[in-house]
Amino acid sequence: MIYFDSAATTFQKPASVPNAVLRAMQTCASVGRGGHAAAMEAAETVYNCRVMASALFDAEPEQVVFTMNATHGLNTAIFSLLSPGASVVISGFEHNAVTRPLHALGVDVRVAGEKLFDREDTLRAFEREIAKKPDAVVCTHVSNVFGYVLPIEEIAALCKAENVPLIIDASQSAGTLPVSLRQTGARYIAMPGHKGLYGPQGTGILLCGDGGKPLLFGGTGSNSMEQDMPEFLPDRLEAGTHNVCGLAGLTEGMRFVRKQSPKAILRHEQSLLAQMQQELRGQECVRFFTGEAQAGVQSVCIENVDCEEAAQALAQEGIAVRAGLHCAPLAHCSAGTIGTGTLRVSFSAFNTPQEVHRFAMLCKKLFP
C-alpha cells in the first residue's frame, strides 16, 4: 500500500514506537496509584513523555497535559475559556473539532480570513476582529484540507497585544512547523500524538498556559480527600488512568521527530508535494488547490469525477488517500468546494519520490 493519508493519522511509524508500546505493556502499571516497581515504572514513562514534549514545544513539563487526541484537547480548551453567549473569532479553515464544541456551547462566532493561501488577507481580517476584543480566538495553524499555513505567530502577537486569549489547533503542524507555548503566549495549544508526532492513536497533548476547567472528573492519585479536582496541572485535567503504553510510544515518536528535525520533515513533504504537482502538471482535468504557504497536504478536484469515486479507484490500486469534506465543512465553504469535496493527499516522513511517481502515473491512467 502507498499511504498518502497522514493528515488523518500517520500509518508508518518508527520501529521504536511499537517496541516502546510493547515494553510498556509488559513493565508498566498505572501512574500515581502505587509505590511498587511497576507503578513507578509507569510514572517515569509518563514523566519522560512530558519532558520530551516540554522540550519540543517550549513549555514546562507540568504545562503538558495528556489527552486522548486533539479533539479532546480542543474541547477542554474551549470549554475552559468560553461560556454561552461569549464572542469568539475563528479562521475560515477550522475543523469540526473546533466548530462543533463552539456550536454546542452557543457562542457568537466571527469568521476571519476565508481566502485560501492569502496570509496577508487572513492577518488583516484577524486584526480587524481582534480589535473588537472578543472573548477568545481559536485558530488552526495548518488547514487539514488544503495544507494552508496560517500566519499563527502574527495572530498570536495580535492576541497578546490586545490581551485576548488564543487557542491554537496544531493538529497538522506539530512535528513539522515551530509550535511554542512560550513564544506564542497562547492560552492553549492542542495537538494529536498520532499524526506528525508519529505516536499511537489514543494520545494527544494539550499545552496549557492556564489551569483550565476539567472536562472529566475522577481519580488523579493526588488530593484524594478533596472532592474538587486539584487546582494544579497536570492533574487538574488528567482524571482517570493514563494511556501509559500509548505515551511510551509517543515519547519515541517525538524522539524521532527531534532527531529528523521538524524542518527537515517539512522540507521532505513539501518536496514530494512539488514533485506531484510537477508530474501532474499536464493533467488538465486535475485542479490543484495550492499556494506558497503550504505544508505537506494537497487537495485536488478531478473534473467530472466524484472525489469519493476517485479515492475508491485509487484504493483499488493500493493507494490510500482521503476524499470528501475531511470533517471541515467550513474550510470547504471558504474555498468554494463545499458542493464537491476534495480528494486529499497528505505525506509523512516515510513517503518516497517513487511512491509519488507511481501515484502520478496511476492518476494519468485512471483519470485521463
Partner: protein, 84 residues
C-alpha cells in the same frame, strides 16, 4: 541518622524534583507519602539521607521546584516537621 522526607502534591511534582536533584548529584528515593504525613489523601515523597539535606534544599530552590513540607522521623518513630 535521620531520613528526611520532602512531600509533594503529585507524582509529577515528585519526579520533577527528583530529576532536579539528580542533575545536582543528590540521590533520593521516590516513595508513597507515609500515612502520618498525608494531608489530603494520597501523595508522593522523596526520601533523602540526612547528610544530603542541605544540598537537596539548595538544588530544589535553584531549580524553582516547589515542595510541600520537609519531615524527619525521630528515634521514637514520631514525625517532626523541619522548618527552614
Amino acid at each position: 541518622m535521620y531520613d528526611y522526607y520532602f512531600t509533594f502534591r503529585s507524582v509529577t511534582a515528585a519526579l520533577s524534583a527528583q530529576r532536579a536533584l539528580e542533575r545536582a548529584g543528590v540521590s533520593s528515593l521516590t516513595v508513597r507519602t507515609p500515612r502520618e504525613l498525608r494531608q489530603k489523601g494520597c501523595g508522593y515523597s522523596l526520601r533523602i539521607r540526612e547528610e544530603l539535606l542541605a544540598d537537596a534544599r539548595r538544588a530544589l530552590q535553584a531549580a524553582s521546584v516547589p515542595y510541600q513540607k520537609v519531615y524527619r522521623k525521630t528515634d521514637r518513630g514520631s514525625w517532626q516537621e523541619v522548618v527552614t
